[in-house]
């Protein structure tokens, strides 16, 4: 029985361009208060726009409010309930953190304001850096990367710069292999490639862990620059040989990069720095609850050992040690304690203009301070407990390919349901009818028909039970009436979309009707 939801009316709404009416206006501006110069005198005619921005919508404020309010109701969101996307950590996004990010003294601060006049902003960066260093056990930090993949690229470039400096350019050119497990996120190989590495894939064992023998074999050729490892891995399993893995890579002259996507299983419980990891990225938009916003913004801080610190992006935010003179006024200015430091000659360089996604840093710091030392661990425990609760409950109805106990997320497969023709995609789509956002599907790639479930700590037992009931009911439906799954979802405003045609003949923007029909004819 579907208990979490019922159907209700869903408003229709066209594209804003199809709503546009000439002459409608949604803005107001004060009158121009300076002497107006003829436009041609200030900007030559040939540089002026002559298309009147044709095609942009003309609507009123009310139109805009209704437009976005209507289409917003077509989205599922965390605030509606459990969003069990594995490896995405969809936890509650606190409104308090939103309020903090909107404090005028931060929101209206220009990034090129003088350091003395922006000490508060720099303090936030500095304090967050300190907390993240403590949480990861890695003291060198840059908050510049804008997302997880950006942090990965930064970390891998740091490894490359370190090896170049250690071995010299010539010898280091022989070390261009990056090892990545077959269960890794796709961003890992893509980031390694961007840093000029060739990727070699490490196999996983039947147990779902990194194959140590294969790792040793790959490390035997002297060409390994590093290993990119997610821990807990993308199967939700802690790599219990992590220390040995790090030793093997280190002994072979390589460094260990950890993808911190799954840090929600570790905060306050174990630290990558204590495991032998050299560099890690965090996802503030996962572990530290900054909102995903329908696909971003993220923030992907890069944390590393003392040894790698000189290679971090510039500018670094450092504590001031000296007091500067203002000679012209001939009195000593009291300099603030923090400043930007560009003087890191071995730095990989800048990875983004300004300082990174600052607004996300404010939210993450507010998250950490709201939880405090005990709350951070409590959240980790609750997240792992919720995942284990699901793992325990669903094992009777779904194939669980790895026997070990998972951490914060658990993988199941469609093996039992597929016999009757219902596959992972169908199970996921049917879950929508039960009022849940589906889990991550078909990832990791090494598990056929994978369903990766991460409840996070933000779900209560009642809703966990509803989810478990829904999954069990779907398993039953898969046996008795697989058609019900194959055509799901049944309750949404649109059904499954024809993605193949969409990719074959891509329509990536709206165009006025006339050009639409000519395009169709041609």
């Amino acid at each position: 029985m579907i208990t979490k939801v019922t159907t209700h009316i869903s408003p229709n709404e066209r594209l804003i361009f199809e709503r546009s009416q000439p002459g409608r206006m949604g803005f107001s501006l004060p009158p121009l208060d300076v002497d107006e110069a003829p436009l041609d005198e200030i900007i030559p005619r040939e540089f002026q726009r002559d298309d009147k921005l044709a095609g942009m919508p003309e609507v009123t404020e009310v139109d805009v409010i209704r437009h976005f309010t209507r289409i917003s109701t077509w989205n599922y969101s965390i605030d509606q309930g459990m969003y069990p996307l594995g490896s995405c950590t969809m936890k509650y996004n606190s409104r308090l953190n939103e309020k903090v990010a909107r404090i005028a003294g931060f929101a209206n601060l220009h990034p090129l304001s003088s350091e003395e006049e922006a000490q508060g902003a720099l303090e936030v960066i500095y304090e967050l850096q300190q907390h993240l260093a403590e949480i990861t056990g890695l003291p060198g930090i840059s908050l510049q990367p804008a997302a997880g993949a950006h942090g990965e690229m930064t970390g891998i470039m740091i490894i490359r710069a370190f090896i170049d400096a250690r071995d010299g350019k010539e010898k280091s050119a022989q070390r261009r292999t990056m090892l990545i497990p077959d269960s890794a996120h796709g961003t890992n190989p893509a980031s390694a490639h961007l840093s000029g590495f060739t990727v070699k894939t490490i196999k996983s064992t039947a147990e779902g862990l990194t194959d140590l023998d294969h790792l040793r074999e790959l490390c035997a050729h002297g060409d390994v620059a590093g290993l990119m490892l997610t821990n807990p891995n993308t199967l939700g399993l802690f790599e219990r040989n992590i220390r040995e893995i790090c030793d093997i890579v280190h002994d072979a002259g390589g460094l260990v990069y950890m993808d911190g996507a799954n840090m929600n299983a570790l905060v306050g419980v174990a630290r990558p720095g204590d495991m032998g990891v050299d560099v890690i990225h965090l996802n503030l938009h996962k572990t530290f609850s900054t909102p995903h916003g329908g696909g971003g913004p993220g923030s992907g801080p890069c944390c590393c050992t003392k040894e790698l610190e000189p290679f971090l992006p510039v500018p670094r935010i450092v504590a001031q040690t000296s007091v500067s003179d203002d000679e012209t006024d001939n009195h000593r200015l009291k300099s603030g304690p923090l400043r930007l430091d560009f003087d890191y000659p071995q730095s990989i360089g800048r990875v983004k203009a300004f300082f990174g996604n600052y607004g996300m840093m404010l939210r993450a710091l507010a998250y950490i301070l709201t939880h405090g030392r005990d709350g951070l661990r409590e959240a980790t425990e609750a997240a792992v407990l919720n995942a284990r609760y699901i793992a325990n409950a669903l094992v009777s109805d779904y194939d669980k390919p790895f026997a070990s106990d998972p951490m914060h997320e658990v993988v199941f497969t469609d093996k039992r349901q597929a016999r009757k023709g219902a596959h992972t995609l169908d199970i996921a789509k049917r879950l929508i009818d039960y009022g849940f956002h589906p889990m991550t599907i078909y990832f990791p790639l090494i598990v056929s028909g994978a369903m990766l479930i991460e409840p996070t700590e933000s779900v209560g037992r009642l809703e966990l039970d509803q989810f478990i009931d829904a999954m069990r009911a779907i398993a039953q439906e898969a046996l008795e009436d697989p058609e019900l799954l194959l055509n799901a979802p049944h309750s949404t405003r649109i059904g499954r979309l024809d993605e193949a045609t969409a990719a074959r003949k891509p329509v990536l923007r709206w165009k006025p009707k006339e050009s639409h029909s000519t395009a169709a004819q041609s």
Binding site: N75, G120, G294, P297, I432, D498
Partner: protein, 456 residues
């Protein structure tokens, strides 16, 4: 912890139900010697009241946020209509994930489709993606894309591009086998020199910014012709997206890839981020574009919807052969820009752009009338311009801030030690005539005061 629904009792019951004797035992798969045997050295939890007080107090140590400001250079203080923040703060938008399940993500998908369309309209291009991190990384990705499209490895970037953008591009290409060279700008005009001796058949792309870092408008068409003559692409970077409201679109001038910082459209300054990178190109390069794309699709009943499409370019499918490593982009900020642009409409964008240009030119006229001050560049500009002061600009600007409460601009010495007296002034629709007049009076006062001081 108030964000965790299950009470301690419920958690204890759940533990019992799954047959685990204690919380600590949940972590048995982590070897004991790797577990943290102490509490994190993080402060004790703060209540909501305490937390807000802390951040409110910290914010007071950012006096620059309250100043009358003429700072630009990649981040612009434009007015944001109230409804922008209201709409992006709806739970359905800000607490949803990347729209991987289209049946329950149509709100986000349709908004991105509208965003892509608006970016095409503004830039004059055929297609646009769902966003990049910001303008600087969008430019770096454009350089990488030019190499993929042309299979050439030399890229020529104008020295009149924002220095931080150039820095980012150098970081991105350092291991990509791309040789990133700079081409000079004319010290008189302030625009990219048309004498491009190193633009040749090996060049993948010429990269220019317009209006450029100095605010000067480049002759995009002429530079496009030069690039195309040797088979290179023209990449145009725009940091002040409001200029699209008044200036001929790069697409209409022959650009092949247009990237921009979208912060001007409804996004707060927020000390440099999160902003949103715009990325647009020609239709023929659709399969080489980095990042996500949303396309139109239909269900079996013929109902229109939108989906993420052409995903075979992306990292989760192609892995190391992907067009980029980007995954998470700037979804919510792209939404803010979409709401902003739709609220303002074509007439609103044009009106704001016009006010920016008129006010900036008023300020430039006034400042050039001050004795000892001049405008070193002759090229036309939009809303930013370089001023040459009679003395060290950093010192002057610091005094202007301290004594008059005005942030008068950005000293170019920050980026170029050879320009000690130059500073970059930006004027937007939010600056009133009174503020501009105060800036002029402040500059006058401080320079005459210094002269008096020196004479005495």
């Amino acid at each position: 912890m108030r964000y965790i629904p299950n009470s301690p009792d419920e958690r204890a019951e759940m533990l019992q139900q799954i047959g685990v004797s204690s919380m600590e035992n949940l972590f048995d798969s982590i070897p004991a010697d790797l577990r943290l045997r102490r509490s994190l050295n993080v402060p004790d939890a703060l209540s909501e009241l305490e937390l807000l007080k802390k951040f409110d107090t910290t914010a007071t140590r950012n006096p620059a946020a309250n100043r009358i400001s003429f700072l630009g250079a990649g981040a612009y203080a434009h007015y944001v209509p109230t409804i922008v923040d209201h709409l992006i703060s709806r739970s359905e938008f800000f607490t949803s994930y990347t729209p991987y399940q289209p049946e329950i993500s149509q709100g986000t998908l349709q908004a991105i489709f509208e965003f892509q369309t608006l970016v095409c309209q503004l830039t004059g291009m055929d297609i646009a993606n769902a966003s990049m991190y910001d303008g600087s990384t969008a430019m770096a990705e454009a350089v990488l894309m030019a190499e993929r499209v042309t299979r050439r490895t030399k890229v020529l970037a104008s020295s009149a591009i924002h220095p931080e953008y150039l820095d980012v591009a150098h970081t991105y290409v350092q291991h990509a086998g791309i040789e990133l060279q700079h081409c000079a700008y004319s010290p008189e005009a302030g625009t990219t020199s048309h004498d491009l001796s190193n633009l040749d058949e090996k060049t993948a792309a010429l990269v220019i910014q317009s209006p450029n870092f100095f605010g000067c408008i480049e002759d995009v068409q002429a530079l496009a012709d030069k690039a195309h003559a040797v088979g290179a692409l023209l990449i145009v970077v725009v940091t002040e997206a409001m200029s699209f409201g008044l200036l001929k679109s790069p697409g209409a001038c022959g650009a092949d890839i247009v990237v921009a910082e979208g912060q001007s459209f409804g996004v707060p300054l927020s000390f440099g981020g999160p902003y949103v990178g715009l990325f647009a190109t020609r239709e023929k390069y659709a399969r080489q574009i980095p990042g996500r794309l949303v396309g139109e699709a239909f269900d079996t009943k013929g109902r229109r919807g939108f989906v993420l499409t052409l995903a075979t370019r992306e990292q989760h499918i192609r892995r190391e052969k992907a067009t980029s490593n980007i995954c998470t982009n700037e979804g919510l900020i792209a939404l803010a820009s979409t709401v902003y642009l739709e609220t303002m409409g074509p007439r609103g964008i044009e009106a704001v752009a016009t006010q920016c240009a008129q006010k900036a030119h008023y300020a430039a006229r006034k400042v050039s009338e001050i004795e000892g001050f001049s405008l070193p560049f002759s090229a036309p500009f939009f809303n930013e311009f370089v001023v040459r002061a009679p003395a060290d600009a950093s010192t002057l600007l610091k005094k202007l801030a301290n004594e008059k409460g005005i942030d008068g601009g950005i000293a170019l010495a920050r980026y170029d030690a050879n320009r000690p007296n130059d500073f970059l002034v930006c004027v937007t629709e939010t600056n009133t005539r009174e503020q501009i007049d105060n800036l002029i009076d402040g500059l006058k006062y401080l320079t005459t005061k210094t002269q008096r001081h020196e004479a005495a």
